[in-house]
Amino acid sequence: MVKGRNRKREQNVLVLGCSRLGASLASLCSQREESVTIVDQNEAAFVKLSPNYDGLKACGNVTDMDDLSMVHVKEMDQIFVTTNDDCTNVMCALLLRECNEHAKIFVRLIDPERKQVMDGYAIETICLDDLWVERCSSLLQKESENTQILRR
C-alpha cells in the first residue's frame, strides 16, 4: 500500500537565485508536487517564497562548486538559473553542465547578446526583452487580424 500523496513521476528541480523570478518558479514547482531545492547566498531572500512552499532552502554561492555539490546537482532533472546577474548565471550554468549532463538547464539573461558564450552547451536561455518583443508582436498581430475582420 502506498501511503500519502501519490506522486506521479516526481522531478528533481533546482532553482538558483531567489530573485522574484526564482521564488515564483520554485513556488510553482512545489505546488506541482515536484521536489524543489532553492539556493541563494542571502537567507533573507527566501521571504519571497510563497507561504505554501514546501521544498528545501539552501544558503550558498551559486558559482562555488563546493556549495553546489551540497545540493546534489548531479541528481537534478531541471535546473533554473535565475539570479539577477548575467555573468553569475553563465558561470553557474557552465559549471552545472560539466557535472550534470542530462539535466535541462534554463538560464535567465538580461542581455540577449551574451547568449553566444554558451553556444554548443545545450543550455536554454530565456531573456525578458525577447519575451517582450514576442508578446508585443503577437498582440499586434491579433489586433490587426481583429480589425481586418471588422472591416469585412
Binding site: T63, M65, C87
Partner: protein, 228 residues
C-alpha cells in the same frame, strides 16, 4: 605594427601591467567600468582608456577593428572574467585570453572553458610568502622543485666535476653562484667550497640528490665526530 593588448578591469594591477607592457613595446588599451578608476588610469597616459563594462558584448564588438592579440581580464569577480574571456574568443579571431581568478578551484574549470591562461593571485601570493618565510625551496608545477644548496669544505661533491657525480635522473644543477658571479655549469665544472647551487629536482629524488652532493646525513657525521 605594435602588438595590441586589451586589459579589462583592475586598477592598480591594470596600471602597472599597462606600464610594463608599453615598456616592452606593446600597446595596451584599458577598459574599466568605473569612471573614478578610469581617471586614475588616465594619469599614467597609456594609449587608450575606455570607460565601459567589458562584460557587455557590444563594448567588445565596438573594438573589433583593433585586432587585439591578447585580452587580459583582471576583474575582482571570477564570473566577470569568464564572461570577458569567452566573449573575446568569439569576437576577436585568434586572440589569446588570460584571466585572473580569486578562487583557485576555478582555475582548471576556466581552462576547460577555453581560457588560455589562468592566474590565481591569492595562491601566488601565499606561495611566495611561504617561500620567503619558511624555506629555500620553491615549488614548480606538479612534483618539481627548486632547492638552494650551500656547499661546505666537508661536503662530498667538493673538488669534483659534475660528470663525476651520478646525480639522479630528474635532477639538474641549474646554476652556480660563486664569488658574486652566477653561471650555468657544464659537465667539466668543478664544485668549489662556498658555491651556492640551484638544483631543479623532483620531490622524490630531492633527498638522494642532496645526499650525493653533501655526503652522508648530518647526524651520522656528528656521530663520527663524537668517536674522534
Amino acid at each position: 605594427m605594435k602588438e595590441k593588448v586589451l586589459i579589462v578591469g583592475g586598477r592598480a594591477k591594470a596600471k602597472s601591467l599597462a606600464q610594463s607592457l608599453s615598456a616592452r613595446g606593446m600597446m595596451p588599451v584599458l577598459i574599466n567600468k568605473s569612471e573614478e578608476d578610469c581617471q586614475k588610469l588616465m594619469e599614467y597616459r597609456p594609449s587608450k582608456v575606455i570607460c565601459a563594462d567589458g562584460t557587455k558584448p557590444y563594448v567588445l564588438e565596438d573594438l573589433q577593428m583593433e585586432a587585439f592579440c591578447q585580452v587580459i581580464a583582471l576583474c575582482p569577480r571570477d564570473e566577470d572574467n569568464l564572461m570577458i574571456c569567452r566573449l573575446a574568443k568569439n569576437i576577436f579571431p585568434k586572440v589569446r585570453t588570460t584571466a585572473l581568478v580569486s578562487n583557485l578551484a576555478n582555475k582548471k574549470f576556466f581552462i576547460r572553458c577555453g581560457v588560455d591562461r589562468v592566474v590565481c593571485a591569492v595562491s601566488l601570493i601565499t606561495r611566495m610568502i611561504e617561500q620567503e618565510a619558511f624555506m629555500d625551496e620553491m615549488r614548480l608545477e606538479e612534483g618539481l622543485q627548486i632547492v638552494k644548496l650551500d656547499m661546505e669544505a666537508s661536503d662530498a661533491a667538493i673538488h669534483k666535476k659534475l660528470w663525476e657525480l651520478s646525480l639522479p635522473s630528474n635532477t639538474v644543477i641549474g646554476s652556480i653562484l660563486r664569488q658574486d658571479g652566477l653561471f650555468v655549469p657544464q659537465g667539466e665544472t668543478t664544485i668549489m667550497e662556498g658555491d651556492q647551487l640551484v638544483l631543479i629536482t623532483s620531490d622524490v629524488q630531492k633527498q638522494e640528490a642532496i645526499q650525493i652532493l653533501k655526503g652522508e646525513k648530518s647526524d651520522e657525521k656528528q656521530r663520527k665526530h663524537l668517536f674522534w
